[in-house]
Structure formats: C-alpha cells, structure tokens
C-alpha cells in the first residue's frame, strides 16, 4: 500500500493560492476604495469561516458565541487607540487581547459539551456585551468611532486595512494549514472523526481542543479588529450580535464542515449572496437560515465535502490519500 499527500493538482493549486494572494495584494493599487472595502469584507468572512470551522469541524465545538472575540477585537482597538498608541499598533494589541481572553474562557468552556458549550459561549458573549454597555468610555450602548484613523487619508487607510486583512487571512489560513498537516493535525482529525476513539488511543483531546479554541479566539479577534478598521464605528448591538454566528455557521455548513477548502468556498458564496441581495431584508435571511439547516440535515460535509467524495479532489492537502490499495498490489505482484 502506498500513501501520498501531494498530487499534481494540489501542488498546482496550493502554489496557485500563493500567486492569488500576491495578486490580491495589488488590489488597492488598481481598484477604487469601494471595491477595496468590499474585498476587505470578503477577507473578514474568510477568516471567520476558517476559525469557526477549526472549532466545529476539527474540535467538535459548536460555538454560538464567537462574537465575544469579534467584539473584544473591535472594542480593544478603540480602547488601545484611545490610550494614544498608533491605531495600527492598537489593532495588533487588540487581537492579542482577544487571544489572551480566550485562554481563561477555555479553562471552563471546554468542559462543556454540545448545547451547554454552544449556549454557554453565547451567554459569555452576552456578558461581555453587557459589560461594554456599562462602560461610558466605550460609548456605552450607543457605540463609538475609531477617530484616530482620521489622521490617514481615506484611500491610504482603506489600502492599509485591506493589506492587513490579507495578511491576517494568509496568516490564519497558513497557521491552520500547517497545524493540520503536523503530527498534531493528525490527532485533530482523529478527534473530528471520533472523539472517544481518539481519546482511547491516547490523544490528549483537552489540550488539542484548547489549541483550536485559542487559535479561533485570535482569529475572531483579528476579524473584529478588521471590522472596526473597515467601518470606523462600532456599537455593542452589532459587534456582539449573534448574527455573526449565523454567518459563520452558514459559510461553514454550505462550504464544507471539517474540510480545509470548504469554508473559503462558503465565504465566497456568502459574499456573492450579500453582493446580489445588497438591500438584505428578511427573505434573504430566511434563505440563509433554511439553506444552513438543509445542509446540516442533507449534506453535512457541505459542497466541498461532496466534491471531494465524488471527484477525489484535494486542492490543499491536509491529509493523506491511498494511491494503490493492497488488492491492486497483490494483483500486480
């Protein structure tokens, strides 16, 4: 029996993504700021989808409260910028803050299972939201602007934010990619497939889950940072909205839960849907909710899972594939 990781297609595609990332970097030089802002949103969606998938797809942790870290990232940026540091330094600090906050939360949240974890995280997000609302320095319930960004000309500001979004997206996708390919990744995929079986084989399930949880804390914090940098205004109602979880669930379920490529595909699909239905409205959300539910019931590994199964296609290989089965070897021998 022979196993391989890379195929010609996946090598071409993975190096292709590197080229795409480089090409994307030139976007602010070519397009106007409206396009740049839209594409920044797409990159934010990619980060969010990848992080939610890391939790649910590999850790079996279904969180309805990742908006807690989005809010901490966004409000952290405003808070640190208010202390007088450069807004871009404030963004990095805020992302680190979100990652740091996820450590104590993980100590207790990871003990919870299924619905307790899902709603427990939601309540934690609500608690942080209430605490922000109680703080007048953070604009209480009415929101606050990131005024320190006004020192930069709008075009440059938009370009910097885009590059930052691109950098974060590449960073977090690469981190996840190499994490999943490392020996650690094999244990993560074992947890995804069967947690109890993995534990019985000696996988340290708790510490692996903590790793994913903290990574997702950083990633969702980065997304929150980018959201406030992109819109320059934040209020608790939108930063801590459970709507973020709805978007993440939609992207990952439609794209493909537990696949590396799927959430990226899901983010692009959600972005396309948002661009088509710009006015939003309730029917659009009815469609999103119904689609997510139908995928959960009928196609649990999403579009990408179905593509993988049918075509055996792997563009960003995080696992191995059997090239020749032992039967064929016997026949050839």
């Amino acid at each position: 029996m022979k196993v391989q990781r890379w195929t010609r297609t996946s090598m071409l595609f993975t190096s292709g993504t590197g080229v795409v990332a480089l090409a994307l970097a030139s976007v602010p030089l070519i397009f106007d700021s409206d396009v740049v802002q839209k594409l920044t949103n797409l990159l934010i969606l990619v980060i969010l989808a990848a992080m939610w998938n890391a939790l649910a797809g590999y850790g079996g942790l279904l969180s309805v409260g990742q908006q807690a870290f989005i809010g901490v990232g966004a409000y952290g940026t405003v808070f640190f910028a208010g202390l007088g540091v450069s807004p871009y330094v404030a963004m990095l600090l805020a992302m680190v803050l979100a990652g740091a906050v996820s450590v104590p939360i993980s100590l207790f949240a990871l003990r919870l299972r299924a619905a307790q974890f899902a709603i427990g995280m939601w309540v934690i997000a609500e608690v942080i939201s209430i605490l922000v609302r109680l703080d007048k320095n953070l604009g209480a319930g009415t929101g606050i602007s990131l005024i320190q960004m006004n020192q930069y000309a709008p075009n440059f500001r938009q370009a910097y934010t885009f590059w930052m979004a691109l950098g974060f997206a590449v960073l977090f996708l690469a981190a996840l990619f190499f994490l999943l390919r490392s020996p650690l990744g094999a244990s993560l995929q074992a947890i995804r497939d069967d947690e109890d079986a993995a534990r019985s084989l000696g996988v340290r399930v708790a510490s692996r889950k903590r790793l994913l949880f903290v990574l997702a804390g950083f990633g969702c914090g980065a997304a929150g940072v980018l959201i406030v940098a992109n819109t320059l205004f934040i209020e608790p109602g939108s930063a801590f909205s459970v709507q973020w979880s709805a978007y993440m669930i939609f992207m990952v379920l439609v794209g493909g839960l537990g696949t590396f490529e799927g959430p990226i595909l899901g983010a692009i699909l959600l972005f396309a849907v948002q661009t088509i239905f710009t006015q939003g409205g309730p029917w659009y959300l009815v469609g999103l909710g119904a689609t997510a539910a139908l995928f959960a019931l009928l196609l649990p590994r999403g579009l990408w899972g179905a593509i993988e199964e049918r075509l055996g296609l792997r563009l960003m290989p995080v696992g191995y594939r059997v090239v020749t089965s032992s039967k064929q070897e016997e026949a050839s021998a």
Binding site: V64, R111, A118, G120, A293, A296
Partner: protein, 292 residues
Amino acid sequence: MSLVNAIVQGIFLGAFYAVLACGLSIMFGVMRIINLAHGDVAVLGAYLTFVVVERTGASAFVAFAVALPVMLLLGYVLQLTVLERSLKSGILTPLLATFGLSIVIQNLLLVAFSPDVRSLGGSAGAFTTASWHVTGELSISALGVLVLVVAVVVFGALQLFLSYTRPGWAMRATAEDPDAAELVGIDSRSVYARATALAVAIAALGGLFLGIRSVFDPVSGPTQLIFAFEAVVIGGMGSLWGTLLGGIALGLAQTLGAQLHPQFSVLAGHLLFLAVLVARFGGARLTLRLAR
C-alpha cells in the same frame, strides 16, 4: 421590605421562566437534544394568539385555546420533518438544524408582522393588571400569582402524566433506552413526536405569558431561549422539577440583581448560570484532583 418585594417578584418572574423552560427540559430529557429555536417557537405562539385576538376580539386566554392545537400539530410536524432526521447524525446536527430554523422563524415573523413590538396585555382582561398591596412596598400582582399557579399545575400534570399513564410510561422508557423500548413494542418515533408536540405547546404557553407580562417582537426569541436554557441548567439538566426551581432561581437572581443596579438584572442571571456551570463541571475536576 423592598428586599421581600424583590424576592416575591423574583418568584413570579421565575415561574414564567420555568414555563418557558419546561418544553426545553422535556425535549432534553426524552431525546437529549436542545432545540435552539425554542424561544422563537414561544414567540410564534404569542403571535398566533395575537392574530386570533385581532381577528375575533376574543380574550387572549380564549385565543390561546384556539392557537394551542395548531402549536401541538406544529410540534408534531417539526419532529417528523426536521428533528427526527437530525437525531440520526451526531450531537451537533440538531443544534445546527434548529439554529437555522430559529433564523427562519424570526425572519418569517418579520415579513408577516413587521418589527413593531406587540403585546397581549390589553386583551387579557382587567385582572391581569390588578394587584394586592399588602404593605406600602410589597405588592402581589394577580398575574404573578396566575403564572405561578399555572407553572405548578403544568409541572404537576406532567409528573402525573409520566408516573401514571401508559403514554407517560412509554415516554420514560424511550428516554431511558429507545432500543429496549422498541423491543417491548413502543414506537419511539411517535413518542418523540408527542414529546416535541408537548414541548412546543408549553413553549406557546410561555409565549402567551410573555405577551401578557410585557411586549414581544419577531426577534424576541433568542433572549427567551437563553433564559429558558439557563433555567434548565441551573435546575440540573434532565430533571423536571429542577427546571421549575431553576427558573425561580434565575428569576430571583434577576430581580435581586436589579436591586443593586437596574442594568445588573440580566447580568446577574447570566452570572448565576455560569457559576452553576463552573460549580458542576469545574468542581468535579477539583474533587478528582483531591481524590488522587
């Protein structure tokens, strides 16, 4: 004396949460799943009652009696279409499917009823605003007493149903071990469908009380779900009477928290919920360590 009043109001509020949480507790007890659309189902019940009141001019309680069979049927259909399928595929699928359902219900309500807030208070009769002033600070509202009595009756009736009727035994047997129950001729599909129908109907009762006590709008559901789930967890998941006590504990936390500062009300409830989770799951580990 205001402290005594806060405690009395907390018990009344808690009884309301217990009614909201009852269906969630039944579904978890029988099928080990949490319906994330439970709060939206309650709000749907409130809207259905509201529509009947608008069309006929009947009292909210009469209108609810009309809405009740519709909600029972809805629960039955919900189980057979969405939940039954999701039960077969892992512990995350029911959560994902019902979360999607929650978004669908909220936005369909938005389409049908606009984002305006509604209330059933005006159509529930004069007695719902009546109250007895025991002393200057302590007042007991008729509505509070009604909700408390109804909560105790609902939980009591469920206990009698589970203890003394054949369908109740079937439900307990299925909850204990669905495969073994099948062996003695119990159809677990229909037991599950009946449990969900019951859960949805009681959620609608919670929606009725929500509408009479205060106001509701199409996106009121998630908050009700969180409160209901907190009541279930505080009381101990899988315990029916625990849910009643858990609801009352949550109500007390909220009214006592509001005594400190009006904005602490909901926060105090959340903190009690998180503290219970820490005590139950964090504490277990602590004792394990000590035992070693």
